[in-house]
Structure formats: structure tokens, C-alpha cells
Symmetry: C2
Subunit: 667 residues, 2 copies
């Protein structure tokens, strides 16, 4: 045999299968991210540091176990065939399984119970054309333009390829959908002609929130504002790093990397939109607008813009301007004349997602009345009132704890914003047993027993010799597989109360616990030479492995909470306000949905004075994007808010640095 056979990889995840050739990939992570539809998350960017890109070898011989895996994987994981994809290569054909979290379930985020407000910026024109003949050989385009001559509308070149088919299918009647002077879509026939198929005269739009961790998409009827469907998934760029900095590093490492990141996210957005179209039976050609928000790095990557200068002082994005981009340029296969609204951003670390939160919370509707416009105000106000008891509940704070922690302080018609490099700890990243808010994630931990009417999972009761029981719930009541952010905060608050973790963040060792006769002592172990606390023993966990919080995890949370807390305090100092003067704290992001305010206060994430003022507003970025999709006036409102916002660069603020050190303690 002188010919070398190619190595084949058989991959499976959630019943989906894929066969492919390993080719010249440098690792299984590289192979999976480039050549398969599966997404494996590697918050460290595939550097063998975070231990998250776990795969299970079901058959075949992989390369030998590396030192990184010896460190990052437990012996029981290694013996179960678990490997890290970033440092593993195949030596023979392999059969591997991904036990990932591709599908998000049980997302409690905002569900749009009522239609959202729309405005009249879309026009519908019905045209009747003279059919062509040997005596009238005008081109389809010329024929259409001459029928439109008084309208002064532009027909984008992207609509031309479908024009012959559309005009002939509609027998020389056509319905044009236009936004300002631009025709977004040309549909065959006139709506009234087709009473049996009312769908054909409807047009749709998609709002998209690109989170560093999660991408969410929402489908709307553009005429009625009715919400039709939602879809969300972990960001497909996850294999290239868990936070914006590691994505930026990846983008800068190789000449095609930026393009690869762009393709990953645009393909994912296109798939999410198409999945919603299929689920609702809507022709993608009738989806003629999209609105995409995200933090500036996510928007840069989606637009193929180099994020290099976002990552180095003085932190300059390529663009923070509002943009209107033909959908075709982004490879979105919706109506070929469709446009994509990209709302503006404030700075390199305060993006359109945060402005969306300001708009969605009602904070944008401050003491300056002209926005929202009168014709919108009733429905908009009714919507806003769901969040704020009074439309003028100022001063107010908005905190979005996602992969970063952005904070906006609204004082009348002005805003002050900052961004803290909180890291993704509250999203479960860089936490040993951390995970996103998906099925099986522990989202609540209490001392004692849950009352039976709360969402109790198959509760784990600590029926050891102690009286100190801990109970928890998991998302969707699935068997526990790890912690989401809220669960970590709860457990840490309990451990602080119980003296297992002291105010410096130090965790008792097993030996110290026993010496003190601490009732939790038996749940303390030594993990990687440091103390760790087991919440769920291996035999009760959904993974067959214990679920634990380590000393290192506590340090990660400690850094993150210090950053956010110091950020809040810096903004208040700048505005010369006290906590008592703040009337509302809007908590945006999935994390806020599950967070127990008392625990958040206990660990020092949120100042005690604000505990009773917290309003969790769920995926405010998605709601804000949806509002801007449906209304040009709200799209413009983003720009108005941006112009009224001052950005505080914390990296050069000595005030912040001092507060950060102070807030490092668990007081």
C-alpha cells in the first residue's frame, strides 16, 4: 500500500452526525470549527488553557494525552475518554462526540407578549405594467422605472436578478415595498388579487442581538409589529475564544482569521433567520429588513472590520456610526433588496446592545420629551411602563452583565457610560463547573429546603450528619451539570455567610474545615492543590462528575464583582450622586433573570442601597433591536441617546482603580 489514506472523523452531537476528512487541520478543534457545522466553545481561543473544549473519543486512536490535559482534565474524565479538542489530533479515523450546549433552552428572556410599535416608514406600491410586445421592447427595469417615474424611487441592482421572474409571475402586476427612496422588495401580483394567500402581501423583519456568548434572533411582522418567533444559539465564534479580547487576538493572528470569524457569525445569523422562516412558513424573500445590535467587537467582526485598535489604547473602533447595509453585502439570503440597520455605538466597549438596553428600558425617554414621537408615545409608553413605575424614574442605572459589564447612568436627558472588563465569569466561563443559562445549569442555591411550589429540581438534600442542608434548582429541572452565573452567586453568598470563604476571598481547606468542626467540612476537597467546595457529588450529578466551586473560581468572581461594583461607584462619583438618589437599577442580560438580588448584594456585586430597586429587564438588547427594526424613529433614537452619552474610560481613571482595589474584598 503506497497510498496514504485520508483520516476520517465521524462527529456526533445531539443526534446530528457529520463525516469529514481531517485534512491538514492542526487540531480537532481547528477541524471542528472549520469543517463541521458544530460549535465547540474554547474561551481561551484554543490555547490549551481553559479546559472547556471537551470532546469524548468514542472510537479510534487520538494523539497521546498532553500535559495541558493532565492539568485541566480530571482523572475520571480522562479515563472516560474525555479530551481537549485544541490539543488533540487523530492518529487513526476517529468517532467523537460533542456533549456541548449548542441549543439554548429554557431561556426566560423577554417574550414580547404584545405587538411592538411600528411606524410608517415602509411604503407599499402596487404597479400595473403594460406587458411587453415586439412593438414595446423596453427592458423589465425600464418598464418598471417608467411606471415609477413620479415616485423617484431607486431600484437596487440586487433586485434585478429576480425581476424577470417576479414581473412575469405576477402577470405584469407587482407590489413594491420601499423604505424612503429605496425599494426593498418587489413581490409578484397585487395583494388584493390573492385573497387565499394573505401571507403574500405581508413583509417581515428580523432583529438580532449578537452576544459574545449567545446570539438571539427575533422575527416580526413589519406592518403589525407582531412577534412571530425567536431563536437563539451559542455564538458560533465560541471556538475562537470566550471573550472579546481573545476573539480579537484570534482575528489578528492569521490573514484569514477575521474573514473566518465574519463568516461564522453571518452564517449563523442567516441560519437563525431561516430557521424562523421555516418554522413560521414565511418565504425568506418577504423578510426585507434586519436590525443587528451587539457590542462593538461583535459588530466589527460581523462587518469584517479589523478590531485591532479596539484592543489597544486609546481604544478606537473603526466605526460607531449608524449604518444601513444591503443584506446581500452581508450574505443574508433574505429579500435581495433587503437592508440591515446597524444602530450606532458609544465607544469601543459600549455598543449598540447597551444603547438598545437604554431604549428598551425606557431610560431614553428621559426628561426631554421629543422622543419617542407623539404618534408612538401611547403604545411605546404602555410598553415602557411594564418596566418602570414612572417614566421619569431618574436618576437610573442600567447594568448589562454579560461577557463584559457595561453600566449606564441616566440623569435626566444625559447619560454617563462605562465598561468594566468584568470577564465572562457571570456567564459561567472560566469557572471550573460554569456554564451558560441552559438546561441543567444550577441557577439557585439556598440553605435549607426549597418550598414545594418553587421550581425545585430533583433536589439534592445534604443529609449528612450536619443540620446544614443546601438545596438547589436547575434550569428546566434537568439533572445538574454545572453552574450558571446566578447559581455561582448564590453559592458564594452562602459560603461567605457560612465562613467557608472569608472577606479576602480565601476558602477554607478541608483540613481547616475539619479542625474548626465546620458543618460543611466534609464537602471541602483539594482540587489542583487548592481548596474546593462540592455542591453536588459525582453520584448525584448529571455528568457523573462532582459539581464544585474552587478557590480559583472564587477569585474569578471576586475580580468580576469588584470591577462592576467599582464601575457603578465611579459613575456615581462623576455625577456627584449617592446610592439613595438612584431610583431604579435596570439589570439587563440573561444573568439578571436568574439572579437573586440578596446574593448579589451579599457578594458585593450590587450596593446594598440598591437591593430593593432592581428591575430585571431580560434581554433588553434584543428588545431594543426589535424596536429599532420596527420603527425608524426608534432607530434614530439610538443616535440621539448616543449623542447625549459621555463615555468614561475606566482604564485611565485613578478613581476607578482605587475603588476597584477596595471592592475586591467581600465586605
Amino acid at each position: 500500500m503506497d497510498t496514504q489514506r485520508a483520516i476520517t472523523i465521524h462527529t456526533t452531537q445531539d443526534g446530528r452526525e457529520h463525516f469529514g476528512e481531517y485534512g491538514s487541520s492542526v487540531s480537532l478543534l481547528d477541524y471542528l470549527s472549520k469543517h463541521t457545522p458544530f460549535t465547540l466553545h474554547a474561551p481561551c481561543g484554543g490555547k490549551g488553557k481553559c479546559g472547556k473544549c471537551k470532546i469524548r473519543i468514542l472510537d479510534g486512536d487520538p494523539s497521546p494525552i498532553t500535559e495541558a490535559e493532565q492539568t485541566l482534565l480530571r482523572p475520571d474524565e480522562l479515563s472516560a475518554g474525555i479530551r481537549l479538542a485544541c490539543v488533540t489530533k487523530p492518529e487513526t479515523d476517529l468517532f467523537i462526540s460533542l456533549e456541548g450546549e449548542k441549543k439554548l433552552q429554557g431561556n426566560k428572556s423577554f417574550l414580547f407578549p404584545h405587538p411592538l410599535p411600528v411606524d410608517g416608514s415602509l411604503r407599499t406600491l402596487v404597479l400595473e405594467l403594460i406587458p411587453p410586445s415586439l412593438e414595446d421592447q423596453r427592458s423589465d427595469h425600464s418598464r418598471l422605472l417608467s411606471a415609477l417615474v413620479t415616485e423617484g424611487l431607486e431600484i437596487p441592482i440586487d433586485l434585478l436578478p429576480d425581476l424577470p421572474h417576479v414581473l412575469r409571475e405576477g402577470q405584469w402586476r407587482a407590489t413594491l415595498i420601499a423604505h424612503k427612496n429605496r425599494v426593498l422588495s418587489i413581490l409578484p401580483g397585487a395583494p388584493a388579487e390573492i385573497p387565499t394567500s394573505k401571507l403574500s402581501s405581508r413583509i417581515f423583519g428580523a432583529a438580532v442581538d449578537i452576544g459574545t456568548t449567545t446570539v438571539a434572533a427575533y422575527l416580526f411582522d413589519l406592518h403589525t409589529g407582531e412577534h412571530l418567533d425567536s431563536q437563539s444559539e451559542l455564538n458560533a465564534q465560541g471556538a475562537f475564544g470566550g471573550d472579546v479580547i481573545s476573539r480579537i487576538q484570534y482575528a489578528l493572528e492569521g490573514p484569514d482569521n477575521l474573514k473566518r470569524l465574519q463568516e461564522k457569525i453571518l452564517t449563523q445569523i442567516d441560519e437563525l433567520i431561516h430557521r424562523m422562516a421555516i418554522r413560521t412558513g414565511i418565504p425568506p424573500a418577504q423578510i426585507c429588513m434586519a436590525c443587528i445590535v451587539g457590542n462593538p467587537t461583535m459588530i466589527h467582526l460581523a462587518l469584517g472590520l479589523n478590531p485591532k485598535y479596539i484592543a489597544e489604547a486609546p481604544f478606537i473602533p473603526v466605526t460607531t456610526e449608524p449604518l444601513l447595509i444591503p443584506a446581500r453585502e452581508l450574505g443574508l439570503s433574505i429579500s435581495s433588496g433587503g437592508i440591515v440597520r446597524i444602530p450606532p455605538a458609544v465607544s469601543a466597549y459600549v455598543g449598540s446592545d447597551i444603547l438598545a438596553g437604554v431604549v428598551a428600558s425606557g431610560m431614553a425617554d428621559g426628561s426631554t420629551p421629543p422622543v419617542p414621537q407623539p404618534r408612538l408615545s401611547s403604545s411605546f409608553a404602555s410598553h415602557v411602563s411594564r418596566f418602570s413605575d414612572s417614566p421619569l424614574a431618574f436618576p437610573a442605572l442600567l447594568i448589562d452583565i454579560g461577557t463584559n459589564g457595561e453600566i449606564v447612568l441616566g440623569i435626566g436627558d444625559r447619560f454617563i457610560a462605562c465598561s468594566t472588563a468584568a470577564g465572562p465569569a457571570f456567564e459561567g466561563a472560566q469557572i471550573t463547573c460554569g456554564m451558560g443559562g441552559v438546561a441543567g445549569a444550577i441557577d439557585k442555591v439556598i440553605r435549607g429546603t426549597m418550598s414545594s411550589n418553587s421550581e425545585v429540581s430533583q433536589g439534592l438534600m445534604f443529609t449528612s450528619s450536619t443540620k446544614h442542608n443546601l438545596s438547589f434548582t436547575t434550569i428546566l429541572n434537568a439533572p445538574p451539570v454545572g453552574f450558571c452565573g446566578a447559581g455561582i452567586v448564590d453559592l458564594l453568598a452562602i459560603l461567605l455567610e457560612a465562613g467557608i470563604v472569608d472577606e479576602t476571598g480565601r476558602m477554607l481547606s478541608q483540613e481547616e474545615g475539619k479542625r474548626q468542626g465546620h458543618p460543611f467540612a466534609e464537602w471541602l476537597i483539594t482540587h489542583e492543590d487548592e481548596p474546593a467546595f462540592i455542591l453536588v457529588p459525582a453520584d448525584k450529578s448529571g455528568t457523573g462528575m462532582p459539581i464544585l466551586l474552587t478557590q480559583q473560581d472564587v477569585r474569578e468572581i471576586q475580580l468580576a464583582k469588584a470591577a462592576i461594583s467599582a464601575g457603578i461607584r465611579t459613575l456615581l462619583k462623576k455625577a456627584n450622586l449617592t446610592f439613595d438618589e438612584i431610583r431604579t437599577l435596570y439589570l439587563a442580560g440573561g444573568f439578571g433573570n436568574y439572579l437573586n438580588p440578596r446574593s448579589a448584594v451579599r457578594i458585593g456585586l450590587i450596593p446594598k442601597e440598591l437591593e430593593g430597586k432592581i428591575k430585571s429587564i431580560g434581554n433588553a438588547a434584543g428588545l431594543g433591536a426589535s424596536l429599532a427594526l420596527l420603527s425608524e424613529k426608534i432607530f434614530s433614537l439610538f443616535q440621539q441617546v448616543r449623542e447625549r452619552t459621555s463615555y468614561i474610560e475606566l482604564s485611565s481613571s485613578s478613581e476607578f482603580q482605587e475603588l476597584y482595589v477596595e471592592e475586591m474584598m467581600f465586605h
Copy 2:
């Protein structure tokens, strides 16, 4: 050996080599057109009918010789390893050579000896920006816009990716090139700063003429109008058919075919432009405009528009409108903000290439004075005067004999146009020994001996027993390999004079020639059961095979000349004009360069009355495209001419049909 090795094809042409896997290609033609950079021409669209896609098998085993090849190839070709790529597959690895005509040489077409007129539609703005700092973190885009605020210029999104690099390389100075409100290019620095590199402040443009057979591109300095370089090649779509109808058929046959045709031509245009950039040392980023003309089918294919309705009555193009398209949308890798001007067309068969001819000839400058504009008139008029003795030499005819034969009659400020389905016979296609105007093509045939100072090739003297010698010249004096159109016309005129071909187009058989004792009798042979006339015997030809004109070739020419002649007569009848009233006959296209007017009159292609009025204007389409590239006013002039042009649909004209039958005879 249980593994099947892939079949490898080693291809060579003009010293270029390519190795590739045959894969799942259906024929070698299919393989060559999809997987190699080589272009093989198959006027019949690869249907095994035209016999043009010849390749030579140098090594390896191809599939058995087919019936089509038995018919279309001569025994000496078959024994020399010549095969038709469209019906041949490999049975083993193959080493093949293409003896094609990829490179055009000796093109006598217009060479732009003087700079062409430019107008002032391009603006140059030099900006000095405040460098960013932690106190001024505006994005690059916002920074640029605020410096531009009084200008109201739009920065296309395609310029954003390069913006960070450009601004930093220029140390926050930048030079913007704008056309109307659109920024086409942003160059680093201010021109005056860089005296050593004057090139950096220059901007360039490319004019392109997409012929069905040949694609030509011209590079200009957009400020000075100076012509810098030209490149031309056979149209890379050639493998998918020789004329517009076979290309359209191919486009309609498969779902990806239109896209494939589009990619072929856009890639070729991009390559031609880049080759000129390399030859002249110009950075492609400084090429910020292109202007593309072509017949409507070529333009449709280049824009990815379905040409279906061009090919069926009532012959309706998707668009005939002037278009401005971002270069990025067409995949042209020139300045990322660059734009492409697509001048308008008249109808499905009278395209922007013909309007370009009208403009280039000076015919557009009729009795209506406002165009060209006064500021252009001096240089424009000096240019035009090279072609027309008087700028008002009306009525005038323009004939473009290419793959089709388009005719425009100009009468004062009005134009009448028609298109005849003349077929590509005059371009050498569908002619047994026909070829384009490339090295070795016989372009002139006379009775007797050439005078020594004319461009005589290694003359073939018929030193047989007769006194009737024939001499010929070839392009670039290369050894004769076939006929270009002008050579065919000359030879046919001689054969008509000599009585070898009679007025019905019938050629004497060898036997008849001998019986008559005709001096040419010994050069008559029987070819595929029909008479043929050998001009160059095998031992004197560059291919080792005789160069001959067959009875079938005469029939092809007969149909083509009848169509054009009848078209001319139809237009004159419509305008109620006689031939004597026509003051100029502009002959556009490469064919016209070589054509002997006397021979053209003798075969009936051109009416005798016009013989002395012929002005050959070479590649008028390329010149017209260049003028429209350099001047927005001339780009607009196309639209004005189009609006003043009436199109006559010959397919429904009984007048034309009658004339066509009449003109079939060689009177």
C-alpha cells in the same frame, strides 16, 4: 490495491502548466473550463458539433474516438493525437496540450495616441485629522465624518475595512477621491507630502469591452486621460458557446450555469485589470473607476442577470438602464470604494458597445449641439476628426461586425438601429479553418504577387502550371494557421471572380474544375463529400495541415453577408434614404481593420455605392467605453443617444425578410 487513485490531468499551453484532478468532470472540456485557468473555445457549447475544442493528447489513454470526432476531425488530425475535449474523457492520467489562441497579438485596434478628454467630476479632498487619544476616542469613521461635515459626502461601507490602516499610515492625513457625493477611495497622506512618490496621488480607471469573442481592457490616468496600457484575451466564456444564443442556452441549462458564466467573465476582467496594474506598477487600490460595455447578453452575464427573455420573442432584457455598481459587488479587486459605470443599451441586441461606437465615431455629435459640452469640445473634436472629415458628415452608417452584426443609421439628431443575426462567421467561427485576428491568421489574399514593401508573409506562390498565382499575408507574418474574417472575404471574392464559386454560392467540384480546365482546378478537393478550395497546402502551413475554404464555409459567409446587407437596406428604406445620400460608413470592430473594402463589396457585404465612404474605426466600443470612463458627460451622452434611437426589430420585419432572401445571392 483496493484504493482507486484519482485521475490526474497535466495540461500545458504556451509554456504554462497546470496539474489537477479530473474528479467528477463529465468531459475534458468540462474539466478544463471548471478546474483550470485555461480557456478552450467551443462555439457549439460543447455539444460535439463545431469541432473547435481541439486538444492534443501527448501522453496517456483517453476514451475511444467518437463518431463526432470521426466526422469533425481529419484523419491526419486524429493520427496526430488531436481530439475534441467535449467528447473525450481520460481513462488514465493524461498529459494534454492546448494549442489555443489565448493570447491575442498583433491587434491593430485603436491605440489612443493622445490623452482622451477628461471632465471634472472627480474631486480630491485632503484632510487633516486630530489624532485619537484617551480623551478623544471617536471611531475612525466618526472622526473622518466630522472633518467632512460641510461636504455632505457619503463613505461607502466597503471603504471601512481599510480605513484604520489608511488613516494611521498617513499619520492622520488622508486624501479622499470623490465622485459626486460618493467617496471612491481614501489614500494615506496628503499628495504634497510625498514628492518622491508622485504615483501615490494619481488615480486610475479601466475601460472594458466585453465582446462575445474577445475581451479588451484599457487602463487610463483619470486625471490626465493618458492611456497607460491595454490587454485583451479571448472571452473566457468561450467554452460555453461561440455566440450569444449558445451562451444563453448554456446559462439556462443548469442551476449554477449563469453563476459560472458570471464568474468566468468577472474573474477575467479582474485579471486583465490586474495584469495592466502590474505591468504599469500601479497599485490596484488606486484604480477607482471602471466602465464596462458589451452587447446586452454579455452585460447580463457579467451582472448575473438571467438572459432568458433576450432569447425569446419579444426579446426583453432585464435592464438596458445605465447603472453605477460598487466594484466590490462585482468582485473587482480595485479600490474598495470603486464604482463601475455600465452605460445603457438600446435593446436586447443593440448594446452599450454599439452606443459606444456611435459616441466614439463622432456620430453622437450630430446636429444637436449641446453634447459634447463646450469645455470638452476642443480635445474631443480633435479626436473625433481623426475619423470623420466633417463633424456633421450625416447621414452616416455605423456597422459593427462581430459575433452579431449591428447597424446604426444616424440622420441628424436621430438614430435608427437594428441587429442582424449574422453569426460569428466573420470572426472566423463556424468556418473550417477560421480563427480570430491573431498571429498566423491569413488576413489578406490577392491574385498575383504582393509588392515587396507590403506586409508579405513567407509568401506562398502558386507556381503550378497555371499563371494564376495567389499570395497572402498573415498577421505578424507568422506561419499561416487559418483565416481571419478579412482573409475569408478576400479569398471568397477571388473565387467569385474566378468562377470557382458562382452567384448562388455553389463551389465547383474538382472534377468540374478539371473538366473546365480551370487554372485553380488542382487546388479543388473533396472535403466531407463537398468541394473545398485549398489555399495553403499541408507542407506550407504552420499546422502541417492544409488551410482550405469549404462549400459549407461559403454558405456560412453567404448567410452572414445577406443578413448584414439586408439590414443596411432595411434601415435605409425606413429612413427613405438612398445609398448615395450616405456620406460615411463607419466600420467598427477588429474585422474592419483588416477588411479590404473592394472584397467586401464584391461578396455583397457592403453596397457598392458605399465603397469609397468606408472609414474603419477599429475597436470603437473600447474607445467609447474609455471616453465614458473619463467623462461623466460622455457617460450621460450614451443615455441621450439611446433616447434618440429607434430600434427596428428585424425578426418581425417582412421588408427585411424579403431583402434577406434577395441578398443571399452573390450578384
